[in-house]
């Protein structure tokens, strides 16, 4: 098995889960309704937990401990897509990002359930239920707010327009696409993007939101190669502020 290709895949997926989970956790205690505050926090916990499990797979392949990987790298060593590192903004942006990202995430892990790398396939199968809830949550909100009031529709539409170029950045091809596909590790970003487009379009068609012509959008690539917006390094500095006081200490 091509271990370089496998690790590259694991890193980008794990980094996505960690950064989106971290961002979403910023809403805890400040959400628009107590019940939603709780639901959004649970999903953030799921995502951070999933990233930890993925870093653990990397550790078993010879990489450092999950804590070290997560809390001591700099932005240029992270392979998450830029979508997940953007600041939360208002709830409309957080919800739209949640919808666009989680739809892709759920499909990606569904594809990974048949991965030839068994530990990854097992993990993907295990978390199917978590992802089912995440997309249920996202779809319920988007369907309802996307066809409610003028304000909610226009807020979601402008967040959607802002997020779409970054969402397309999720599918930035890996240098190892061919190897991953050939070895049956992962069916590839193109296949994922096709399924994602279909699903996102299907949900949005039940709302008054317009997705427009995706082929006319210039995707925000770079994240997968360690090129990030100005927002990621401050996020990492903040996340590791205590850990870096003494990375060898047990906290």
């Amino acid at each position: 098995m091509n271990e370089t290709a496998l690790k590259e895949l694991l890193y980008k997926v794990a980094d996505d889960q960690l950064i989106i989970g971290h961002r979403n956790s910023e809403w805890t205690g400040m959400g628009p309704l107590l019940e939603e505050d709780i639901a959004f926090s649970s999903m953030a916990q799921d995502k951070v937990g999933q990233s930890q499990a993925l870093y653990q797979l990397l550790h078993e392949l010879g990489e450092k401990q999950p804590d070290t990987i997560a809390f001591t790298r700099n932005a240029d060593q992270f392979h998450n897509c830029q979508l997940v590192e953007l600041p939360n903004g208002e709830y409309d942006f957080s919800l739209i990002r949640h919808f666009l990202f989680d739809t892709a995430e759920a499909i990606r892990f569904d594809m990974l359930t048949t991965s030839s790398y068994t530990p990854l396939a097992q993990l993907a199968k295990k978390i199917q239920g978590e992802l089912r809830y995440h997309t249920m949550h996202a779809n319920t909100w988007i369907k309802q707010l996307g066809s409610a009031t003028e304000e909610s529709i226009s807020r979601l539409q402008s967040s959607l327009d802002k997020a779409l170029p970054y969402a397309l950045g999720i599918f930035e091809p890996s240098p190892y696409e061919q190897e991953l596909i050939a070895e049956g590790i992962f069916a590839g970003e193109e296949a994922l993007k096709a399924k994602w487009t279909e699903k996102v379009t299907e949900v949005l068609s039940q709302t008054r939101l317009e997705i427009g012509d995706l082929s006319a959008i210039d995707p925000k690539f770079g994240g997968r190669q360690g090129k990030h917006t100005e927002h990621l390094q401050p996020l990492l500095d903040e996340m590791s502020e205590v850990f870096r006081i003494d990375p060898a200490a047990e906290w």
Binding site: E26, I38, G49, G129, R132
Partner: protein, 208 residues
């Protein structure tokens, strides 16, 4: 105002200091009663309420507020207004003693779910369903089965179609619940560390 919480500093609080507009009625939405089944085969039990705009959202909220620990195999949610509540009784007196055998005739045949309160201070539990034209008829139909049984102190009757049930394919949403160990006290044992520290300290004291 500089906060110690970086999240608060990012909130951009300017513009929010002004007069507060008091909340309009239902700004927090209406309430939905939540019933949880902890294991397959166990009855659904009332666990509390969520505020939500509709059934679908109530289900999404109930899942994390009432089943984020232990185990869960299903949730029912129903809007509070759709619960038909009987009177209350006490002691050995079952509420079925007060169910009249006469009932209104209007309505179409529909299914109604029954929830019994068996002990004061506890929660209502799901016991089954009957087909009837209205809640009064449903109670009268249920009466023969319960009137000579253990006393029931209160009954909630709910039209089946008003309840949002968990679909079979969605039941996987609780699959990893037992693995969320970080939410459990049992995951935070530090007795060994404490013991080692105390022994070390005692040894140091002896050296002195």
């Amino acid at each position: 105002m500089e906060s110690l919480d970086p999240r608060v500093n990012r909130l951009n609080m300017k513009g929010f200091e002004g007069d507060l507009t008091r909340k309009v009625p239902l700004d927090q939405f209406g309430t939905f009663e939540v019933f949880v089944q902890m294991k397959e085969g166990k009855p659904y039990q009332h666990e509390g309420i969520v505020h939500a705009p509709n059934n679908e959202m109530a289900f999404v909220f109930a899942k994390e507020q009432f089943s984020r620990r232990m185990t869960c195999t299903g949730i029912f949610v129903v809007e509070t207004r759709n619960v038909f509540v009987t009177q209350f009784t006490e002691g050995e007196d079952t509420v079925y003693n007060y169910v009249p055998d006469e009932f209104p005739q209007q309505g179409e045949k529909e299914q109604y779910e029954f929830f019994h309160l068996m002990k004061r201070g506890k929660q209502h539990e799901h016991v089954g369903a009957v087909e009837a034209k209205n809640p009064q008829e449903a109670l009268a139909l249920a009466k023969p089965a319960f009137i000579n049984e253990k006393p029931v102190f209160n009954v909630w009757v709910i039209k089946t179609k008003d309840i949002l049930f968990t679909s079979e394919e969605d039941k996987i949403i609780w699959d990893t619940l037992p693995e969320k160990k970080f939410r459990e006290a049992s995951d935070y044992k530090a007795g060994d560390k404490l013991k080692a520290f105390k022994e070390n300290k005692a040894a140091q004291n002896q050296e002195k």
